[in-house]
């Protein structure tokens, strides 16, 4: 017993080192497991309220660009108002609830912390479960893609930005609906990678990439970016291209969380099929 004590006394430095490293790594890996993010609600509340306090001050410095983005969005929305259309025949203009059932609802939220300089970037927004935000909802700004909710506490949500190694967006070419995947390989936050472009498909720089609407996360037609350049890989099955994101991730002020109101129905359809499969 005494020898054991002496042994620990002699090597306590190494044991303490191992203990602290193990604690850190357990925290790190459980935390990165964003599915069970609820466990870390406490830490998130602390950093959330702290960051929102800080944002309250720094927000004033970016008012000019925030205003510009907001006015752009107002202009876009006004273009969709009934008043913006020329009514050739007033009799045909009516709203039919059975024909147009609202599918998406948008929750506006303020970004209170955001990074673009890490390999895995996240945003924190000031809307949480109290406002109806849930896990794996899409986050957009205007009509441009931002990321996906991965953790929710009562007042805040944790959003995995497109600039993340785990982020993978199902997208398509606007011109012919060719399905591709968009990822981010690190480095410059303005550019990402479009993967799995079939060999026969001709790419032109400037081609627009939009979300495919294949997942329940984003509606169809959200802008992802435009093709910047591409390279043909002769010995691989697919070509890839570099994409210039249409979102400027470094200047996010207000974003919208997309709430798909038919999501449970869509999921039910899927599971009902899987149930009968065999």
């Amino acid at each position: 017993m005494r020898n054991l004590y002496l042994f620990f006394r002699k090597y306590y430095f190494y044991f303490l080192f191992l203990l602290l490293e193990v604690i850190s790594l357990i925290l790190l890996f459980n935390y990165n497991e964003f599915q069970n993010a609820a466990v870390y609600t406490w830490s998130r509340q602390v950093s959330g309220s702290f960051n929102s306090m800080f944002r309250n001050i720094t927000e004033y410095f970016s008012l000019r660009s925030t205003n510009r983005i907001l006015t752009e969005e107002i202009a876009q929305l006004q273009a969709r108002m009934p008043e913006a259309f020329y009514k050739a025949d007033t009799n045909t203009f009516f709203i039919n609830d059975t024909l147009y059932k609202a599918e998406y609802r948008y929750i506006s939220a303020r970004v209170i912390s955001n990074t673009t300089n890490k390999r895995n970037n996240f945003l924190m927004i000031n809307k949480g479960s109290l406002n109806g935000v849930q896990n794996s909802m899409g986050v957009i700004i205007g009509n441009r893609l931002v990321g996906q909710v991965v953790g929710v506490s009562r007042h805040f949500s944790w959003v995995m930005s497109l600039l993340n190694k785990d982020s993978r967006v199902s997208a398509k070419f606007k011109k012919n609906n060719q399905l591709v995947n968009v990822e981010w390989d690190g480095g410059n936050y303005r550019y990402g990678t479009v993967k799995e472009i079939p060999k026969h498909f001709a790419i032109v720089p400037g081609d627009t990439i939009i979300t495919s609407g294949n997942s329940e996360i984003f509606p169809e037609g959200i802008m992802v970016g435009t093709i910047h350049d591409f390279h043909i890989a002769p010995d691989e099955n697919f070509n890839s291209a570099r994409i210039l994101f249409s979102t400027d991730f470094n200047s996010l002020g207000y974003v919208e969380v997309v709430l798909d109101m038919m999501r449970t129905e869509k999921e039910e359809v899927k599971t009902s099929f899987e149930g009968t499969e065999e």
């Binding site: 080192f17 890996f29 950093s47």
Partner: protein, 166 residues
């Protein structure tokens, strides 16, 4: 002495989470100046205190920047290496009790070597744990190198600024 270190702790954490976390040169070079706290702990700090205070500052930075465990792991690794590095690069093992590593008492060459080795260890652990895959080895290594350079420059800036006050 303890009071001085607590003030350093608070100032460096605030500087890190309020200012330096938002600094990114060229997109992905960011400095981690809070390691200065570990570099500046006195020579006669017991090794247990060294590890625990490194863990605490890493953990505090983590809480505020939402990377639970990441900075703590890197800081503890750095603190673990510190006694080893000091004994490796020092010619005599006698230090004035209560004194801290500085250019003033140990000389520029000693302090430069000390800072480079420890900052590289810290940043290496930090960036590789953050990415946790080897496929981006070279680009991560570049991030480690560039960010370390920036941190080292800031450490020296801080060192010279405090020396002038004396």
């Amino acid at each position: 002495m303890t009071g001085k270190n607590i003030i350093r702790f608070v100032v460096l954490v605030l500087l890190q989470v309020l200012v330096l976390n938002h600094v990114s040169l060229g997109g992905y070079i960011n400095p981690y100046l809070y390691v200065l706290f570990i570099l500046w702990l006195p020579f006669n700090t017991t090794r247990a205190v060294l590890l625990i205070s490194a863990f605490l500052i890493g953990f505090t930075v983590d809480i505020f920047s939402n990377t639970l465990g990441l900075n703590a792991a890197a800081s503890v690794a750095m603190a673990f290496a510190r006694p080893l590095v000091i004994s490796m690069i020092s010619t005599s093992s006698e230090f004035e009790p209560g004194s801290r590593p500085s250019i003033h008492s140990q000389g520029v060459r000693w302090f430069l070597l000390y800072t480079i080795i420890l900052v590289l260890i810290h940043h290496f652990v930090l960036f590789f744990l953050e990415i946790f895959r080897l496929s981006e080895f070279l680009s991560t290594l570049m991030r480690v190198g560039l960010s370390s350079a920036l941190t080292i420059v800031l450490v020296f800036l801080a060192e010279y600024l405090t020396v002038r006050k004396k």
